[in-house]
């Protein structure tokens, strides 16, 4: 044994000596603070990909009226429209960014490697086997490429890097960023409807910003500062001309609340759809999503309903795209919590998590998009919320329990029939490639 090996063996003891564990003097104060803090219901954790700092420290200014913004997004929309026209004229047909499509491949992560799998045949293909921490694969709306996150070391700090690859494993492109995006600053990323840009929400000097990176990797990036403070977003079907976003707003006392806003794609005309109403509540106005026709918006609303026996949670709300007619989607305040709507691509049904108070577990339920008719439970009873995505043809739902890891995903029948599992094990990032429907 070398002298250094002897030293290495003594490291645990030396660390104990360096920081002798003793009950700190702030213990009483700490537990007084925790006693004054409300616990959440178990399924109500919003931080699917959000690191703790994102949840607890994100402070932001109120969205500002974007007087000088706009040209960039106007060009983006024009490019999207032109792109769709061009795409439609190509030999290789691609689907529209919203609405029904044919089912393609399922991207998934397993043991740090990126695969695509074909549910029908059970065949899988390894796309990325490089060293590094990869994750969150998501197909472009046109189904031609997959974007994924790779965490890479930069002087000892983990940085977020977005890569794009074709589903055949070719054409890998690293999306260039002028500044490193630290892992803990990344909030969300996804594709723009034109499939030409990757949108990233990340914290810049403690304020979330929306940056649009050219997916070709040419280094072009546009910051949409009209949406400063946003936590997530949705492009409005059918063409993405409007962008819905949730943003943190700080009032004169410094208290943070969240509001829902929409802006034109050119960054102009920011208007509030739902004003901040619940101070400091990070669950309020989450999971906002459009119906495929772009006419309505589903979203979670925080409700502090003591009759439900919990400190408070969510109800699923719906409103018109202009913010009018906000109402609880299914009247069950006091009897159940629900939220996180996913509307089927054909627009006929809504899948959402639902937890009646009279049962310990909860699960995924499906109901007609107008909220009428029976609630159909599909899949197993769950102990937590789930990640879910509809098959592009609306025939199935791919579901992964939030608290699972490295297991198969569930393939559910929206009509409540028997469910199956994927032929592979994977992590919890789920998505489904959209292909052009048969001509």
């Amino acid at each position: 044994m070398t002298s250094f090996q002897r030293f290495e063996n003594r490291i645990p003891m030396l660390l104990e000596d360096l920081a002798v564990p003793s009950l700190p003097d702030y213990a009483d104060d700490l537990f007084a603070r925790t006693a004054a803090t409300r616990q959440r219901a178990e399924w109500t954790f919003p931080e699917r990909w959000l690191p703790m700092s994102t949840i607890t420290t994100r402070l932001a200014a109120a969205p500002r009226i974007p007087w000088r913004l706009g040209v960039a997004l106007a060009l983006l929309v024009a490019a999207a429209i032109i792109g769709l026209i061009i795409a439609g004229s190509r030999v290789t047909r691609v689907p529209l960014p919203f609405g029904p499509a044919s089912n393609g491949l399922i991207p998934y992560m397993s043991n740090g490697k990126l695969y695509v799998g074909d549910l029908a045949s059970g065949k899988t293909r390894l796309l990325v086997d490089a060293a590094g921490d990869q994750g969150q694969p998501v197909f472009a709306p046109d189904g031609t490429r997959v974007a994924f996150v790779r965490l890479e070391d930069l002087n000892g700090s983990l940085t977020t890097n977005i890569y794009v690859i074709r589903p055949d494993g070719s054409g890998t492109v690293k999306i260039k960023s002028p500044e490193p995006i630290f892992d803990t600053d990344r909030v969300w990323f996804g594709w723009t409807p034109d499939s030409r840009h990757v949108a990233i929400i990340h914290a810049v000097n403690s304020v979330n910003q929306l940056d649009l990176f050219d997916a070709s990797g040419n280094g072009s990036v546009q910051r949409i500062s009209a949406a400063a403070g946003l936590t997530d977003l949705a492009f409005r079907p059918p063409d993405g001309r409007e962008v819905l976003f949730r943003a943190a707003v700080r009032d004169s006392t410094g208290t943070i609340s969240y509001g829902l806003y929409v802006m034109n794609a050119d960054g102009s005309n920011v208007r509030a759809l739902a004003q901040p109403a619940v101070p400091t509540e990070t669950l309020d106005l989450t999971s906002a999503t459009y119906t495929p026709d772009g006419k309505r918006i589903f979203f979670n609303r925080w409700t502090d309903d003591a009759s439900a026996g919990d400190p408070g949670c969510c109800q699923l709300y719906v409103m018109n795209a202009d913010g009018s007619d906000q109402h609880e989607f299914i009247q069950n305040t006091g009897t159940a919590w629900d939220g996180d709507a996913a509307v089927s691509p054909d627009g006929t049904r809504v899948a959402f998590w639902h937890n009646p108070n009279d049962r310990p577990s909860h699960g995924l339920f499906v109901v007609s998009a107008d909220g009428k008719g029976p609630l159909i439970e599909t899949g197993p009873a769950l102990t937590s919320i789930q990640f879910k995505v509809w098959a592009p043809d609306s025939s199935k739902i791919l579901m992964y329990p939030r608290d699972a890891s490295n297991t198969p995903a569930y393939v559910l029948d929206p009509a409540g029939g028997p469910w199956t599992i994927t032929p592979w094990t994977q992590d919890n990032d789920i998505d489904w490639q959209r292909l052009a429907p048969p001509a």
Partner: protein
């Protein structure tokens, strides 16, 4: 009542149970945070942030047996968040010397501890986190990687590089002989 039972009670809203199980871990959480951050006040902030979050989110903890590992994960991430925020603010983390009381040391112990202290200061907090979770908390490297959300290869690399810094520090202080090189010659 055993820890699992206490965690289950805490998960159902029993704050007294939480105070018992979290209190039992508090001293070592605080020590781990001090090792990672090298700053008592920051460590205090990190532990408080982590435990408040732990209490708030405890109903979402599926496996009570993972309670302690979960606390270390929350604390470590709180440490790294604080370190990063501070690093951005002042461009570099100010490393505060540790002045822990101790007794019964031999001069060799003191020397090694001081050298380890110096070596730790040279490491980025993310590296120190790997060292602390592995050597101080006693986590196997795959678990360290899992808790830090980094690939196992990255965890191994960080530990290896951290040990390299320690080796250099010790060599510079004359505590080690020169490094052996392949072939049996001395570098």
């Amino acid at each position: 009542m055993d820890q699992r039972g206490l965690v289950e009670r805490a998960r159902e809203g029993d704050h007294d149970a939480f105070a018992v199980v979290a209190g039992a871990a508090l001293a070592r959480l605080d020590a781990a945070a001090r090792l990672i951050l090298r700053d008592r006040e920051l460590a205090r902030d990190a532990v408080q942030e982590a435990l408040i979050r732990a209490w708030r989110d405890l109903p979402g903890l599926r496996d009570p047996e993972r309670f302690n590992a979960w606390l270390y994960r929350l604390t470590t991430h709180a440490c790294l968040d604080l370190a990063r925020r501070r690093r951005r603010r002042v461009h570099e983390v100010e490393l505060t010397p540790m002045t822990e009381p101790f007794s019964g040391d031999t001069s060799s112990d003191v020397a090694e501890r001081e050298l380890l202290d110096e070596a730790l200061r040279r490491l980025e907090p993310e590296w120190r986190a790997v060292v602390v979770l592995h050597y101080f908390v006693g986590m196997p490297l795959p678990e360290v990687a899992s808790e830090l959300r980094i690939p196992l290869g990255t965890a191994k690399s960080r530990l290896h590089r951290s040990l390299g810094v320690m080796r250099i520090t010790l060599e510079a202080a004359g505590e080690l002989g020169p490094a052996a090189v392949p072939g049996g010659q001395v570098a």
